[in-house]
Symmetry: C2
Subunit: 333 residues, 2 copies
Amino acid sequence: MITVKHVAQAAGVSPGTVSNALTGKRPVSPKTRSRIFQAIEELGYKPNLLARSLVNRRSHTIAIVTSEVEQFGPARILSGIDEQAEELGYSLLLTLMRNPAEEDVEQTITNLVARGVDGIIWAVHQVGNNRRWFTAERRKELPPIAFVTMEPKPGMAIVNTDNRAGAKMAVQHLISRERRVIGHIAGPLDWWEARERLHGWRATLADAGLENSDDLLVKGNWSAESGEAGLRQLLERRPDMDGIFLGNDQMAIGALQAAHRLGYAIPGDLALVGFDNIPESRYFWPPLTTIHQGLFEIGRVALQTIHDAIEESGASGERHITIQPELIVRESS
Amino acid sequence: MITVKHVAQAAGVSPGTVSNALTGKRPVSPKTRSRIFQAIEELGYKPNLLARSLVNRRSHTIAIVTSEVEQFGPARILSGIDEQAEELGYSLLLTLMRNPAEEDVEQTITNLVARGVDGIIWAVHQVGNNRRWFTAERRKELPPIAFVTMEPKPGMAIVNTDNRAGAKMAVQHLISRERRVIGHIAGPLDWWEARERLHGWRATLADAGLENSDDLLVKGNWSAESGEAGLRQLLERRPDMDGIFLGNDQMAIGALQAAHRLGYAIPGDLALVGFDNIPESRYFWPPLTTIHQGLFEIGRVALQTIHDAIEESGASGERHITIQPELIVRESS
DNA sequence: TTGTACGCGTTATCAC
DNA sequence: GTGATAACGCGTACAA
C-alpha cells in the first residue's frame, strides 16, 4: 500500500507537505507542488479515507436506516437520497430493518455511531411507538439525524408528505365525479401515514356534507390481498357505494381485481383513487387515478437537511419540511 | 468521547489489557476482566470502529454497487444481501449507478477501496461493455469482488439466474397450452439477460419444431410502454399469434393493457407468460403466469461468496453459482 | 514555505 | 497475565 510517506520520499519532501498539497489548507510552492503530484501519479497514491476520518472526525458517510426497500416508496426515497449524496460527496451506509415496528434500535444506532457516520437519515415509517427511543438525552450522543415520514415534533428534523392534503385531493376528485357514497380502505392504523390519510378522507367528506361513517371504512394492511378483501367487505355492507379512496396503490390493484371478479364496471359503477402513483399504476386495468408523492424530492431534501445540520453543528436542529402531493387523473375515476 | 484509555484508567489497567479483554485474543484474569467490563458499563464506552479498521485492515464493510434500485429485481437482491450481511456482521456501503451502461467506474472503485471495504458486490446488470474495466491487473488492486447477473467468465466470482432455463420453461408451458404461434418481446439486446432469454425462446421453439423467425420477435426496453407497443406491432404482423413470452413482467403489464384495448381475450385468444414474478403480477388482470427468479437467494449467496473469499484470501476466487428459476402458473395462460 | 513531532483510537509485539 | 511501545495512515500545531 502506498502512503503519504512514500509519496513524500519520492518527491523529496516531508509527509506534512504532501498533506498540505493535497488538502490545500496550507500554501505549497508551485514547484514542490508539481513534484508531489507527479509522485502521486507515478505511484498511484490514493488517500486512505479511514485514516483521514479518524483524524478529521468527519467520515463523509451518512447512514440511512429504512425498511421494506422492495416497496416503491422507500426505494424511491433512497434513490433521491443517493442522488443528493453523490452531489455533496457523501457515501451511504445502508441498514435495513426487517420490521418497521421494531422498537429496539440500540444495536443499530451503536454500530452507526461507532463507524463515525456524520449524520443519520431515519427513513423507517412511524409505526406504533417505534420513535420512542429518540429522546432528548439520546440526541446529545448522536450525530445530526433527520426523520423521513413522521408527524411533526418539536426539536426534530423531519421531512414528509402532506398526507391529509393528498387524501383531500383524492376525495374531492371523487366528489367532482358525481360520487356521493365514498368508501375508504385504510392502511394499518398504527401507521401514522394511514391515520393521516384516513383523517383527510373523513374531514373532506364532512366538509362536503357527505357520509363518512365507519360503515364506509375498512382497515387493510397495505397489501393487495387486503385491498381485495376490503372491497368485497365494503360492497357487501354498502352496495350503494359508488366511489372509493384506497390508502395505497397496492390495495387499489387488489380492489380492482375484486371489482372485475364481481362484475363491477370501473369507473361506471365504482370509481377508484389510489395513493402513491407507483409506476405500474398507469398500467392497471383500467389505469389508476392516484396521488403522486414527491418521494424522490423527499430523499433529496432529507439528505440536504442532514448536510446543513452537519455544517452548522451548533444549530437547534429543528426543521419541518412538507412536500405537497399531486393528483394524477386516469381512467379508474 | 470515551476511549480505551479512559476505561483503562478507570479499571486501573493498561489500554492493551482492555483491548485483550474486549477482543478475547489474549487471556485476561477473571477479576481484572470484570473490573474492565464494569468500567466499560459505567463510562458507556463504545469502541471506535474506524480506528479498529485502520489497524486491523478489516472494516467489516462490504460495498454494494447497483443501479435502478426502484426496480423489483435489484431491490430484492439488495434485500437478500442485507439479510446475510447482518448475519455475518457486515455493514453495507451502497453506491447507486444511475446508468447501468456506464463504463467509467474508476471514481466509484477508487472511493470504495479508499474507504477500506473488505469486499465488493457488483450488482449492476451486464450491459454492452460495462464489464470491460475489470481486467486481470485491476483485480490485483481490489478486494474480493463478486458479480451478480452476468455471463460466466473464468477467474471471476459470479452469481446469476439460469435465464435460458427460465425462458425454456415459459415457452414449453405455452406449448403445453396448445399454442403453436409463439412470439417474444425481448429486452434490449445489449443486456446479457435479454439475450439469454431470447436464446431460450428460440431454442425451445426449434426443439419443438415450431416457428421462431424474426417475424415473431420484437425488441423492447423492459418498460411497460415498450410491451404495449411491442404487442401491437406483433399482432399487426402476425394476427395468428396465440401465445407470447415477455422478457419481463413490466412489458407484460403493458402488453396486457394493449390486449384489452384491442379486444383480445386472455388467455382465450392469446396466452401470456412474463418473467420476474414481481409482486404485482399476481394482481394483473388476468393474473400473470410468469417465471420466478430466486433473487433474494442470489443476494444471500453473493454476500456469502464474498465472505468466503475474504476469509480464505489466497483462493483463486473463481466460483460460478447459478440459481434455478421456477414457473408460476396463473390465469394469463 | 517546509520539516518535525504529536495525536486520532485501536491493536500487536515484545518484554516482564 | 500484564504493561510499555510501536504502528496503522493522515492532519496539524509548532518550530524552523
